[in-house]
C-alpha cells in the first residue's frame, strides 16, 4: 500500500465496566458514516470481569487487518491510568494520548501488595508523548451523569479526527437509548472543548 493509504489506528483501553466497548463502537459508527472502511476488534468473555479491556479501531480507504500492529497506534484513548500506561508499548513516537485520570486498583494494589502507578500520566508525559489529560468523571458529572465519562473522552478524540462534529452528534443520537441522548450530547460537547 502507498504510504498515504496506511490506515489510522486508535487503541481504546480501560477496565471491564467502564464503557470501553461502547465507546469504540461509537467511534466506528462515526467513521463508517463518514465513508471510511473501518474494522474493530476486541475480546469478550472471561477477561471482561474486571480485567483489562482493549479495543482496536482502524480506519482508512481500505483496512485489511482488524488488529493494530504493536508500535503503530496513532491515538491512544485510555479510560484508566494504569491501563493507559501499560499501553505505551503499542504507540509510535508521534502518537497522541488521551488519558482519563481515573484509577481502578487491581487486586494486588487493593490489598497494598503492588504499588499502583498514581504517577502514570506524569510518566507518559516524560516519555515525550503528546498527552491530553481529561478529568472524565468530573466533567461527566457536570454533564449530568458520572457514567458518561467515556463519552467525554470520545468528545476529546473527536476534535482530533477528520470527521465533522455533527456526524459524531448524529451517531450519539442514533446509537444511545433516547433518555440518555441529551446527557451524552452534553458530555460529548464538554469533552470536545477540553
Amino acid at each position: 500500500m502507498a504510504a498515504d493509504d496506511r490506515p489510522t489506528n486508535i487503541l481504546v483501553v480501560g477496565v471491564g465496566g467502564q464503557g470501553t466497548i461502547l465507546a469504540s463502537e461509537l467511534i466506528c459508527h462515526v467513521l463508517m458514516t463518514a465513508g471510511y472502511d473501518v474494522k474493530k476488534s476486541e475480546v469478550h468473555g472471561m477477561s471482561q470481569r474486571g480485567g483489562r479491556v482493549e479495543s482496536h479501531v482502524r480506519f482508512g480507504r481500505k483496512v485489511f487487518s482488524p488488529l493494530i500492529v504493536r508500535g503503530e497506534v496513532d491515538y491512544l484513548v485510555g479510560f484508566e491510568m494504569a491501563e493507559t500506561l501499560r499501553s505505551l508499548q503499542w504507540l509510535h513516537s508521534g502518537a497522541k494520548v488521551l488519558a482519563d485520570t481515573k484509577a481502578v486498583l487491581p487486586y494486588t494494589s487493593q490489598v497494598g501488595e503492588a504499588p499502583y502507578p498514581f504517577d502514570a500520566l506524569e510518566r507518559i508525559r516524560q516519555q515525550g508523548y503528546e498527552l491530553i489529560v481529561v478529568e472524565g468523571e468530573e466533567i461527566a458529572s457536570r454533564a449530568g451523569d458520572v457514567r458518561t465519562a467515556n463519552i467525554v473522552l470520545i468528545g476529546a478524540l473527536a476534535r482530533l479526527l477528520p470527521v465533522d462534529r455533527k456526524v459524531w452528534e448524529g451517531a450519539i443520537r442514533d446509537n444511545m437509548p433516547k433518555k440518555f441522548v441529551d446527557t451524552n450530547l452534553r458530555a460529548f460537547g464538554l469533552g470536545y472543548e477540553v
Partner: protein, 587 residues
C-alpha cells in the same frame, strides 16, 4: 445497498435468516454466543438455546431430516461435545441444509484450550467454509445451506475470535438464493437415516464419493481465489490470516481458500507453479501446510509462523524479514501491576469460595465465572478441564481414597451442570460414592454474558418457560441428600458444608444467589456498607474476600481498608466475616 457495521456473529445471524433457516439452536460459548442471540433478535425463525452442543446438533439435524434448513452454533470445544452425532451425520447426509458453526478461540481468550477445528473437517469428512471478515461471513453463511443440500452433507462454518467479535463494514443487498430450499417433507428412508452396519458401510463409501464431488467443486468455486501480484512469493492462507497477509505482504501473490475442506489439489498446484517460493500463513495447526506437503509441494509454514496463539500482520512481517533471527517478545508492562479478571462486586460465588479457601479443601472445578476463584486471594479451584468434569474428578478422587473421605468437593455452575453434569451425579449416586457436589446456581449462564438455560425459567426471547426443579431432579438421579442454601448466608453455608462433606453418602448443595449482572435480578440491592476506621484493626480478613469495592487507601499496606460506597452492592459478606464489628450499613 446498505452499509452497516457487523460483527461476524451478527453476519452469521443475518445470513442464516436470509437463507431461510427454520431452526437455529446453540449452547452459549465465547466467541459464538451472539449468533443465536442475534437470530432471536432478528426474528422470523425458531431460535432456541439447547442444554448442550450435542443436543443442539441432533436437534438441528432432526429439522434437516424433515427437509428444513437448520443451524447449530458453538465454540470450538463445543464441537467435542457434539462430535458423536457430527461424525455419523457425514454418513447420513441431510435433506434440508445443516450448518454447524464452530467459533474457534486461538490465544485462549476465554477457553480451556486452543484446538484448531479445521482438523474436525478433514477428520469427520465434512466440508468447511472459513470467512475472513463480516462481509464474507454473511455471504458464506447464505451459501452454506444450499451447499449442504446440493452435496447432501452438513457444512461447517468456521470462524475465529477476531472474525466472530471483530466488526467490519458489510454491504447488505437483496439476495436471491441460487439454490432455494428443498420442499420440506418427512419421509422414511432407513438406508439413509438408520446407521446400522449394513447401511453405514455403504454410506461410508458414499461419503467419499460425495467428498470427491465437492473437491471438484472446490477446484473452480469462487470461494477459493488467486490474487496475483509478484511471482517471487506465493502465500496460501485462509480465514483471518488472509487479512494479515494482505497487509503485511502487499507484493506477494495469494491463494485465498474460503473452502478449507476438501482442498482443491489442482488449484494449489497451479498456484504453486506461478510463484518461486510458497509459504502458508495460518494460525495454530499446520493444517494447510500438511496438505501442501502431502500433495508433494515444497512449502514453508510453521518454520515461519508460530503454532501457538494468535498472529497479526506484525507476526507475518517479522517472520518474512528475519528468518531465524527473531527477538523474543518482551513483556513491556514494566512495573504496572497485572490486572487479572475477578469476580464482580456482590458476586454470589464469593461467599462459598471464601469458605472453601479457608477450609483448604481440594476443589474439583468446572467452567464458568467461578473458575476465577483459581486466582488469589481465593485460590480455591484445583482442577478445570472441560464442562461437567469436576463432579467426576471429585468422584474419582473419592473412589480411590476410601480412608480419606471428605478431602474433596466438586463445584459446578447451574448452566454447566445442566449442560453435562447430570451424568456425573448419576454416576456418583449409582456407584455410591460419598462425594459432595456444590451447584452454584446464579440463575444464568454468566460468563458468556447472561444467557438463559433450563434452570433459569426463561427462553432465548426472555419469555417464561418451565424451570428445572433442582430437588426433584437430583433426588431423581438418586441423591438422597440435597440441600438448598442462600449464597449470602455464610453461617448456614459453612454449617451445611461441614455436614455434607462429613456425610458418608453422595450429597449435593445447591448454593443459590442470582448473578449481580442479571437485569431482572430478583434480589434487592441493599444499602452500601462502610468500615469504621476507629474499630478496624487492619486484620485484612475483608480484603481476603477479593471484593473489588474494598481496598487500602493509596494501595499502601499500612493503610486500613475502605469500602467504595459507589461500588458496594450491600451483599454483606464483609460484614459477616469481620470479627470486630467494624463494618456496618451506611445510614
Amino acid at each position: 445497498m446498505k452499509r452497516v457495521l457487523l460483527s461476524g456473529n451478527e453476519a452469521i445471524a443475518r445470513g442464516a435468516i436470509d437463507a431461510g433457516v427454520s431452526l437455529a439452536t446453540a449452547y452459549p460459548g465465547t466467541p459464538s454466543t451472539e449468533i443465536l442471540e442475534n437470530i432471536a433478535r432478528l426474528g422470523g425463525t425458531k431460535a432456541m438455546w439447547a442444554p448442550n452442543e450435542k443436543i443442539a446438533v441432533e436437534f438441528a439435524s432432526g429439522a434437516c431430516f424433515s427437509g428444513h434448513r437448520a443451524l447449530a452454533a458453538m465454540k470450538h470445544v463445543g464441537v467435542n461435545v457434539a462430535a458423536d452425532p457430527i461424525f455419523t451425520l457425514a454418513y447420513t447426509g441431510v435433506k434440508g441444509g445443516l450448518v454447524i458453526v464452530t467459533a474457534d478461540d486461538p490465544e485462549l481468550h476465554s477457553s480451556q484450550n486452543e484446538q484448531d477445528n479445521r482438523r474436525y473437517a478433514s477428520f469427520a469428512r465434512i466440508p468447511m467454509l472459513e470467512p475472513s471478515d463480516s462481509q464474507e461471513t454473511l455471504e458464506f453463511t447464505r451459501l452454506a445451506f444450499g451447499l449442504s443440500e446440493r452435496f447432501d452433507i452438513p457444512v461447517f462454518l468456521r470462524t475465529t475470535t477476531r472474525v466472530s467479535h471483530g466488526k467490519t463494514v458489510v454491504e447488505i443487498d437483496q439476495w436471491q438464493d441460487p439454490s432455494p430450499p428443498v420442499q420440506p417433507s418427512l419421509e422414511k428412508d432407513p438406508r439413509k437415516y438408520v446407521m446400522v452396519p449394513v447401511h453405514a458401510r455403504l454410506k461410508h463409501v458414499d461419503l467419499e464419493r460425495r467428498i470427491a464431488v465437492i473437491t471438484e467443486y472446490a477446484e473452480t468455486s469462487p470461494l477459493n481465489r488467486i490474487e496475483m501480484a509478484g511471482t517471487e512469493l506465493g502465500v496460501v492462507t485462509s480465514g483471518i490470516s488472509y487479512n494479515y497477509v494482505r497487509e503485511a505482504l502487499p507484493d506477494a501473490s495469494v491463494l485465498k481458500l474460503g473452502l478449507v475442506f476438501p482442498l482443491p489439489t489442482q488449484l494449489i498446484h497451479h498456484f504453486a507453479s506461478l510463484c518461486r517460493r510458497i509459504i502458508v500463513v495460518e494460525e495454530l495447526e499446520p493444517y494447510l501446510e500438511e496438505w501442501l506437503a502431502f500433495i508433494g509441494l515444497r512449502v514453508e509454514g510453521k518454520s515461519l509462523i508460530s503454532r501457538f496463539g494468535e498472529i497479526d500482520a506484525g507476526t507475518v512481517i517479522k517472520a518474512m524479514a528475519a528468518s531465524g533471527d527473531q527477538a523474543p517478545e518482551v513483556d513491556a508492562d514494566g512495573d504496572v501491576p497485572q490486572r487479572p479478571p475477578i469476580m464482580c462486586v456482590g458476586c454470589p460465588h464469593r461467599g462459598i469460595f471464601h469458605l472453601l479457601s479457608k477450609r483448604k479443601i481440594f476443589v474439583a472445578g468446572d467452567i464458568g465465572c467461578y473458575t476465577l476463584a483459581v486466582a488469589p486471594p481465593l485460590n480455591a479451584i484445583h482442577t478445570t478441564v472441560c464442562m461437567g468434569a469436576g463432579i467426576n474428578h471429585a468422584a474419582g478422587i473419592e473412589a480411590v481414597h476410601d480412608e480419606e473421605h471428605g478431602a474433596v468437593v466438586a463445584v459446578i455452575g447451574d448452566s454447566t451442570f445442566l449442560h453435562s453434569g447430570l451424568g456425573g451425579v448419576l454416576n456418583m449416586a449409582f456407584n455410591e460414592i460419598p462425594a459432595t457436589v456444590i451447584i452454584l446456581d446464579n440463575l444464568t449462564t454468566a460468563m458468556t454474558g447472561r444467557q438463559d438455560h433450563p434452570g433459569s425459567g426463561f427462553d432465548v426471547h426472555g419469555n417464561r418457560t418451565r424451570q428445572v426443579d433442582w430437588e426433584v431432579l437430583l433426588q431423581g438421579l438418586g441423591v438422597e441428600h440435597v440441600r438448598l442454601v442462600d449464597a449470602y448466608d455464610l453461617k448456614l453455608l459453612g454449617e451445611t458444608l461441614e455436614e455434607e462433606i462429613k456425610r458418608n453418602a453422595p450429597s449435593v448443595i445447591v448454593v443459590r444467589g442470582a448473578c449481580m449482572l442479571l437485569r431482572n435480578r430478583p434480589v434487592k440491592i441493599e444499602r452500601p456498607y462502610r468500615i469504621d476506621a476507629e474499630i478496624c484493626t487492619n486484620c485484612g480478613v475483608c480484603l481476603s474476600l477479593g471484593c473489588p469495592a474494598i481496598s487500602r487507601r493509596n494501595a499502601s499496606e499500612s493503610e486500613k481498608p475502605e469500602i467504595d460506597g459507589a461500588q458496594c452492592t450491600g451483599c454483606e459478606l464483609c460484614y459477616q466475616v469481620c470479627r470486630f464489628e467494624a463494618i456496618s450499613e451506611i445510614d
